[in-house]
């Protein structure tokens, strides 16, 4: 089933990809132009994805609900971390992100908090101070 769904999505994308390529025209440059290569790719990609729909492999074991939930939560934490990294500053954002991730991995509050603070401060010192890769230090509303 997973194969079929993915095959369907890729099939749609390949058609859209080849279709869109048709609108790329340039009156100068090489004889092939910007449209030909994408069009050449879209046909075999669409055919191969059809194969996925017709002859799918047996489904892998998908995670049970509880784990699926923790995966979704992890992705949410990552997206939030990426969004707030600059606004909150590295140390604060990382502390919060590590605590959330450790909790998701089953560690207790105390362990998570310790690991969060240590990792945030340690990595900040390592990267910003020792290696000279600048990181945002303070929350922007304080700066």
């Amino acid at each position: 089933m997973g194969d079929r769904i993915l095959g369907l999505i890729i099939f749609g994308l390949a058609i859209w990809y080849g279709w869109t390529a048709g609108s790329y025209e340039a009156s100068f440059g090489d004889p092939l132009g910007p449209a030909a290569f994408p069009q050449m790719l879209s046909v075999p990609a669409a055919l191969l994805s059809l194969f996925l729909i017709v002859r799918p492999d047996p489904d892998p074991s998908w995670p049970e609900h509880r784990r699926l939930l923790s995966q979704a939560a992890t992705i949410a934490v990552l997206v939030a971390y990426a969004f707030f990294l600059e606004d909150l500053g590295f140390v604060l954002a990382t502390t919060v992100a590590v605590i959330a991730l450790s909790r998701l991995l089953g560690a207790g509050w105390l362990k998570s908090a310790t690991s969060g603070v240590l990792m945030a401060v340690g990595l900040f010192v390592l990267f910003d101070t020792l290696l000279g890769l600048p990181l945002p230090l303070q929350p922007s509303f304080m700066g």
Partner: protein, 506 residues
Amino acid sequence: MEILSSLADGFAIAATPTNLLFAVFGCFLGTIIGALPGIGPVNGVAILIPIAFALKLDPTTILILLSCIYYGCTYGGRIASIMLNIPGDASSIMATLDGHPMAKAGKASEALAISAVASFIGSSVATLGLTLFAPFLAKAAIYFGPSDYFALYVLAFAMISGLGGANPWKMLLAGFIGLMLSSVGLDPGTGMARYTGGSFNLYDGFDPIVAIVGLFAISEVLLYLETATHASGSLVPMGKAIPRFREMLPGLGASFRGSLVGFVSGILPGAGASQGAYMAYVIERRFSNKNNTFGKGDPRGLAAPEAGDNAAAGGALIPMLTLGIPGSGTTAVMLAMLVSLNIQPGPLLFERQPQMVWGLIASLYIANIVLLVMNIPLVGLFTRMLTMPQWILMPFIIIVSFLGVYSISHSTFDLMVMIGFGVLGYIFRKLDISLIPLVLGMLLGADMENNLRRALSISNGDFAILVQSPIAATLYSLTALILLGAFALALLKSRRERLDTTEVED
């Protein structure tokens, strides 16, 4: 003779204090990365590439650092296999078969020593092979024109799809998706924006480095969340830390046999290190399992796959450096790094950047000795690292991935791209679709299109130029042969499986 003088030049480069320092550091880090279950060589190298970039190290130094990490990982992978019965990475699975029984029988330190020596032999054979074969291959390939390069890239996809052992349809499809992703951004020929959706963020396309960190490291964490409770073993007691010299000797012959098998499988693109270890074990078992001791702690059953694994890892560097075709996930990631540094691997690399290639080869010799010396006395330290809990390790991997990507571009958008590729990588891995052709497609796409367009400019749009040169024609026939063989095999296999299941149903 020419090789010897080039190698001497290489040692002069490798022995500069900076390069030597990074080589030793890489060996140490690599062993740890290899030993920790849950973070294999691909993830380790992928996470470190952006950091090495941001530090603006010299390209030769970066290549030396990453290759030493790569070699170090192949040494470290066995430690978790032997002590925990959990392979540190995919290619160390075979080392659990005889390594862990040995450790349980109280011979942990012997097992670690034997496998360290086997790793050393395997890596040395591969490095020697790299020294001898790589310049030879590179010399033969200087005569390549644009249409020949295009044909070579086509062959690369066919080889990875055909020899990878998995479903060839899925491998090919992954390759095409990678190629399609690579065309996002400004078209190099005309400057036209393609598939950017009007967003300026996408004008440079997807940075393969950012994509790779997501595909490998982030997806690894997502995969781990599923298996979280299953993978906890208990550490076998070490016994004495440093074994006697005599105890390292059994398995020497097996190591040499395993090295040869592994090396050959490493050179074949698509086969990779885990295949090398597997084949080395199977062949060694057939060769010396006279008293049915294999699987119960036979030192030869540990030495052969370990040597095979290391030899395959080294062998995989050959097609990567000489042809630009990576044989394994880790070499694909290293190829990404080279391409991002504007270094085109392939035949011309040996012509244009001999100091880099030979410096790398010389550092690998040094790395091997450092790793052997480091691994025998320090194995106690590495073993202690195995007990690091995953709730520390996994967040650490994530934060370092973010740091590296953020350090390159300081862009929130790139972080989002990384997360997106992480989810994509997770889905692909769940559905058994290899990430290697996907990465390869993203890396080679631009170059493939450029060569195609250059060839057709030469011929004024006549497609016949693509097959006119004898080199291209040969490469296409090889491609056709490999694909036909692979698809025929896959069809046969699925038919047999279908027959098997119907029999069961009956």
